[in-house]
């Protein structure tokens, strides 16, 4: 926002309240009420508003108070955001960033635990990235803001409190690149967002048991970084996908297909995908815990694959 006067933030309670997860804290004090705009409650409309603003030269960042609420904005996102650059023959660009907290949290209830990446992945014209650490959150956010394409940045409700040392100098990450978290030889584990931490936890156990998993945080959900993923598959010949999406029509489903189509000659075993069940997220803590993939399940899956 400091570098470019055209960047602005639009959403509910993003101003003096600082946003539902304080992502925009103090920005209103610094940049004023117009650049950090509080809107009435109408997601389709403030998304539409941001699209109109983008087409007239601004670079808005739309915040969904919870990603799930952006389902109300689906019409604007699919029919206008993704489409207008194409249908106008390239005359109008829509450099918006749509972001917000999503994923399964701690007892937030079914409506506040949506994983929208599966619903949005088909929309042509948009890019999707998921951040998972303070380092990549900053880098991906900057990249998304600077991109001329509309980008949806998926943040996770449970990851806001992470602390990490990040460089003082400016850095911008590549929106289409996956992150090598832990190089290995035996199996490729592909994951993103919060599940990265479950995978790393499982990795500790696996290492103790003598396995050497390669963990890749795919980061770019649309398009997939098939270059990094492909190199890994060619090395390990076994793939496990761990995601928080639901089983049907999730990111894992698309990724499985992409890997099978492109690298099936290199696979020694079918691609295994661990996802959440096809159920609305229950409120009860114990039940909620078992709808997301747990480290023990990851360990079992690896053991079976590497058998």
């Amino acid at each position: 926002m400091e570098r470019d006067a055209r960047v602005c933030v639009i959403g509910e309670d993003v101003g003096h309240y600082g946003g539902s997860y304080k992502v925009t804290k103090d920005l209103a004090n610094k940049y004023g009420d117009l650049r950090v705009l509080d809107t009435p409650i109408a997601e389709n409309s403030f998304t539409g508003m941001a699209i109109g603003a983008a087409m007239t030269g601004l670079r808005p960042i739309i915040e969904g108070m919870n990603m799930g609420f952006l389902l109300l904005a689906f019409n604007q996102i699919s029919n206008n955001c993704g489409m207008l650059h194409y249908t106008s023959g390239g005359q109008f660009t829509i450099p918006v960033v749509i972001r917000g907290p999503g994923g399964v949290g701690r007892q937030l209830g079914a409506e506040h635990s949506q994983r929208l990446e599966s619903y949005f992945q088909s929309i042509p014209g948009i890019q999707m990235v998921a951040c998972s650490t303070p380092y990549n959150a900053k880098g991906l956010m900057k990249a998304a803001i600077r991109s001329e394409n509309p980008v949806i940045l998926f943040e996770h409700v449970l990851l806001y409190n992470l602390k990490e040392r990040i460089p003082d100098e400016e850095y911008v990450l590549n929106l289409e690149e996956a992150e090598m978290v832990r190089p290995g030889e035996h199996i490729t584990i592909l994951t993103y967002s919060r599940m990265r931490y479950h995978v790393m936890q499982a990795a500790k156990t696996l290492v103790n048991k003598g396995y050497d998993p390669e963990v890749i945080d795919i980061r770019s959900l649309k398009p997939f970084d098939l270059h990094t993923i492909g190199n890994s598959v060619k090395k390990t010949h076994r793939v496990l996908i761990v995601e928080e999406c639901m089983r049907t029509g999730g990111i894992g489903a698309s990724l499985t297909t992409a890997i099978n189509e492109n690298f099936h000659d290199y696979l020694d075993a079918p691609v295994v995908c661990l996802s959440s069940q096809d159920v609305p997220t229950p409120y009860a803590g114990t039940l909620e815990e078992w709808t997301v993939v747990q480290p023990t399940q990851i360990v079992t899956a690896v053991e079976q694959l590497c058998h």
Partner: protein, 486 residues
Amino acid sequence: MAIWLRRSRSLAHYLKAEIGFWKVPNQRSFLNPCFFNPENSSSTTLTGENYGNPASFLGNSPTLFGSRRFESIKSGREELDLEYENSGHQNQAMDFPGGRISFTSEMKFISESPRERIPCYRVLDYDGLPIMHSSFVEVSKEEALKMFSSMVTLETMDTILYEAQRQGRISFYLTSIGEEAINIATAAALTPHDVVLPQYREPGVLLWRGFTLQEFSNQCFGNKADYGKGRQMPIHYGSNKHNYFTVSSTIATQIPQAVGAAYSLKMDKKDACVVTYFGDGGTSEGDFHAGLNFAAVMEAPVVYICRNNGWAISTPVSQQFRSDGVVVKGKAYGIQSIRVDGNDALAVYSATRAAREMAITEQKPILIEMLTYRVGHHSTSDDSTKYRPVDEIEHWKTARNPISRFRKWVDKNGWWSDKDESELRVNVRKQLLQAIQVAEKAEKPPISNLFTDVYESLPSNLCEQEELLRESIKRHPQDYPSDVPV
């Protein structure tokens, strides 16, 4: 305390600031001594400490858009108790979030419909004579003739391109027959810097701004010269150099987008406004309500023009809403509104000029409901005689025609003649037929345009898909259309 509240209530009304729970310290009230006068305001101790440093709010706001500071409900409640103590039973009013409301002991429901419908502003009668005492913006001969010939051009273009669809030369078309006055007169009242977000029945605005008959035809035929690169269906025009946003088929989605465009103009402090159009049917969409609400809250310089033409495909307005049309809805959102005879070019012109002026100088939205009639079918996919009487259509096509009505006024001023008329019509027709021929013969966009502009640059998956497609075409050349370059 009571004195302070009463005085600032009238001032508050003038300053558009709200008192009570929601303090709105904008630049004007900041300078108002009454607001901070410690003698008058016994509530400074309660509100003052919560108020904090005003400079930090106002310092960086680039426009008149006021900062808001929400105070704790606790302090407000204390203020309320104090007020009650002081005023006793004399004051028949109380503070609630949102401002001061006076009480009534009569339980009265507001009627759902007014005794009288909101009247409609018009300037010319059916004989083209200005009504006595009508106030309107004067139009010069040059301007009037340009408006008139544009209306004729629009009508001719619609008639001929509609026929072209019927002959199978283009795939789809939709006309603005009966709404030429709205199309042209609103466009004439704007400047080229005003951003236009159309629904789809406003090609006249583009015509006024200089889009040529050739450019219109190119889009309808989807050829290589189309600015949309052949990707959209006919009548989905768009031109960034004419400040006319590309038509998107979805109804009413442009309404909140207009607020966004206005937001952008506001940030840049441009001397321009946004104008967006929609029909009576569009006002039922959620986006209409939220968009108008947003525009009012954001103080966005948008002129909302509703073409109430009586029909949304086959749905008449009586089945679309039960309110007194669309004009009354403006009030519900805190927006100044007016109802205009949409078939009276001068009334449309004057109202739009005034609305634009207000929108820009006062930085707020305006709603104009233009009453008219959709003479044509909804589109080439519709036959409206199936749901409305043919004589009704005929009546509006002839007796209530906006072009002939304006013609009468132009004639009476001695600016036009029958000879001019026939010359114009013959010319336009010739130009248009020529443009259609050229457009029809022109090359179609190449297959590479199927994949470009989805993103800024072609990503790997689309490169792959394009390659697959080209391979397919090579393998089955007989199945590929011969007039589309590869």
